[in-house]
């Protein structure tokens, strides 16, 4: 595959602007137009949300046959179900007859899904079992074997994380994740597996989805955006405190950082309880263990919109920091409205005490009620409102920090690593992947997403 993307002539907005010029990732100049513009959003639906791999849920959310949850794949509503044989399946949540949503709860256990409209009923493996008034169809009028629920083109899981795509030409998940698997292993495979606690917190924010996405691997916003916590003595009064570590960019636009905390044993190995730390060498290579040892905070994005946050924080003045692992997803609803999904994950072997402490810390600091996250949403909404006007859309946003940063050739892991946890290397790589998806008419028109060559 070529690493230089040919730019199809059709990748232009109606005003003549080339999509490729809206995300000048190598220069760190990203047009404000891409964040809340209806025309860009319409093209994203076709070129990103119909083609990418999207996080659907975690295997631990549907442990038993018949368990199901309703989610989105891209922006289309889907049912994630474990069928009676134990097979995980993902279907468009829409009847084949008139398109009614066949599942209208957030979660249930069901062997059959019966459409309320005319009563078409499907087995939880997707097969159409009965249609309405079947005796009134003549021979050949109802092709039941081919009228099962519409499955996604592909779905697969990695370390319990279930992803799906509508694009039959998408690479397999294993190839799509590529080098990112090495880092997912460090985060979610460190003790042999994690599970999510409870249902996700879900809330709608008046933001273009990319303002939220942009924020996750950004360490240097913390000192300003979350300065109230500095004032309260809950974050170090040092603007550089989260700058010690590495930012890593992988192919396909996947990005992450591994960041050190205070130089004490408490902040090593994500700050996990000792009984969990003890398991890590059984599941990771020595070089991965060493990376984990130096990490208190990590955020990563599986392109485009699934994130992990592995953080240590406290929701309470004077109490010690507790680690938590947060999974996040942004599902766009409109150019200026985004549904936020947030799960708390915990190592499967965690004690009841740690489960309680990690959930409490997460809920007090992240999610809509979290004393950190609250301020992030405020920023995304105001960024969005300020990107709506014709004057603003003629200007760029600046993602230039670390543009000349040398790759750390000594980094033992895959991907390109930079020995600095402050910088916009990750965002530039993300926007390069966005440009690749947005400028190719067909998958395969361009090289691997996320190549930032400058």
């Amino acid at each position: 595959m070529s690493t230089t993307a040919p730019r199809p002539a059709t990748a232009r907005l109606s005003n003549g602007e080339a999509i490729a010029d809206l995300a000048r990732a190598e220069e760190g100049l990203i047009s404000r137009r891409i964040f809340a513009d209806p025309e860009v959003y319409a093209l994203e639906q076709e070129r990103i949300f119909a083609r990418g791999w999207f996080f659907i849920g975690h295997e631990s959310e549907i442990p038993e046959p018949g368990d199901l949850v309703t989610r989105s794949c891209g922006i289309d509503p889907v049912i994630l179900v474990r069928d009676d044989e134990g097979v995980v399946r993902v279907f468009l949540n829409s009847c084949r007859h008139r398109g009614m949503r066949v599942c209208r709860t957030d979660r249930e256990n069901a062997s059959f899904l019966r459409c309320p409209y005319h009563g078409w009923a499907y087995k939880n493996d997707g097969r159409l079992m009965t249609a309405a008034a079947e005796e009134h169809y003549e021979e050949g009028e109802l092709d039941k074997p081919n009228l099962g629920l519409i499955p996604v083109a592909k779905h697969d899981s990695y370390q319990g994380l279930i992803f799906a795509t509508w694009d039959p030409e998408a690479p397999d998940l294993d190839d799509f994740l590529g080098d990112m698997k090495y880092y997912l292993d460090i985060i979610v495979g460190r003790t042999g597996g994690v599970e999510v606690l409870g249902p996700p917190q879900v809330w709608d924010v008046e933001t273009g989805w990319k303002f939220a996405t942009d924020n996750f691997t950004d360490n240097f916003h913390v000192f300003s955006a979350h300065h109230s916590l500095v004032e309260l003595g809950m974050l170090p009064n040092d603007p550089d405190f989260a700058s010690h570590g590495h930012m890593i960019v992988a192919e396909e636009g996947h990005i992450l950082h591994l960041t050190g905390g205070a130089p004490t044993e408490e902040y090593e190995l994500f700050g996990l309880p000792h009984e969990l730390r003890a398991q890590i060498p059984d599941h990771l290579t020595p070089e991965q263990v060493e990376m984990a040892r130096r990490t208190a905070y990590s955020a990563g994005t599986v392109w485009p919109n699934f994130h992990w946050l592995q953080l240590m924080s406290s929701g309470t003045i004077g109490q010690r920091d507790v680690p938590f692992l947060n999974f996040r997803l942004e599902v766009p609803i409109s150019p200026t409205r985004t549904r936020m999904w947030s799960w708390l994950a915990v190592d499967r072997d965690a004690s009841p005490e740690f489960r309680k402490a990690t959930y409490e810390t997460y809920a007090r600091t992240f999610g809509p009620a979290g004393i950190y996250d609250q301020d992030d949403m405020e920023n995304w909404e105001d960024c969005t409102r300020a990107a709506l006007g014709p004057a603003a859309k003629q200007h760029t946003l600046h993602h230039t920090m670390g543009i000349a940063r040398e790759i750390d050739e000594s980094w033992p892991g895959p991907g390109r690593a930079y020995a600095d946890a402050y910088g916009e290397m990750t965002q530039r790589s993300w926007y390069a992947a966005w440009r690749t998806y947005m400028t190719r008419e067909h998958r395969g028109d361009a090289g691997p997403a996320g190549e930032v060559t400058a």
Binding site: R107, E231, A363, I371, M377, E378
Partner: protein, 174 residues
């Protein structure tokens, strides 16, 4: 969250009037930014929670879960109040304008001891900057302990009506 069994207190009782006045006083404190005074209304061992809710069939229950948006104790509430008192809590700086409405008070005595359970319907409206209203509605269940002529809240469970919170965040207090 089962009801207490010490019997209902009706609107024609002094106790009902005192509780209603207490709840109105609390709402006024929140809507006038007197957060430190508001915090005084809670016992040191308060449990303050807002469970996550999901849409499910009624046969599977009302949809409330063990895990919450809020899972706070007194020290956490104090942290939220002190955060609002900094100049940097951007979600509330400049502050939202809120209005806390309290209605449909149902009051019951504990089977033993002086505690009362007050169940109310709540509505909180919020507007900030030049923006449209955000609204939160639901039921609040408060376990109240008599404290002189007033009360302190020992347990507050906020049962929201929404499964998807259609608001920027939950930076307002309930």
């Amino acid at each position: 969250m089962s009801a207490l069994t010490g019997g209902a207190l009706l609107p024609n009782t002094d106790e009902y009037g005192r509780v209603l006045e207490f709840l109105h006083h609390e709402a006024e404190l929140l809507d006038t930014y007197r957060f430190a005074d508001w915090l005084e209304l809670f016992t040191d061992d308060v449990a303050y929670s807002m469970p996550v809710r999901t849409t499910q069939f009624l046969t599977d229950g009302e949809g409330f879960h063990e895990f919450g948006f809020f899972v706070d104790d007194h020290a956490t509430l104090m942290t939220r109040v002190k955060r609002l008192e900094t100049e940097f809590a951007w979600a509330e700086t400049p502050p939202s304008r809120t209005r806390h409405y309290v209605s449909n008070l149902r009051l019951e005595r504990a089977a033993e001891g002086p505690e009362l359970e007050a169940r109310i319907n709540f509505m909180v409206t919020r507007t900030r900057q030049d923006l449209d209203y955000q609204m939160f509605t639901g039921v609040r269940r408060d376990l109240l302990v008599p404290d002189g002529d007033a009360y302190k809240v020992r347990r507050r469970t906020i049962l929201v009506d929404q499964t998807v919170i259609t608001a920027t965040n939950l930076s307002v207090l309930f």
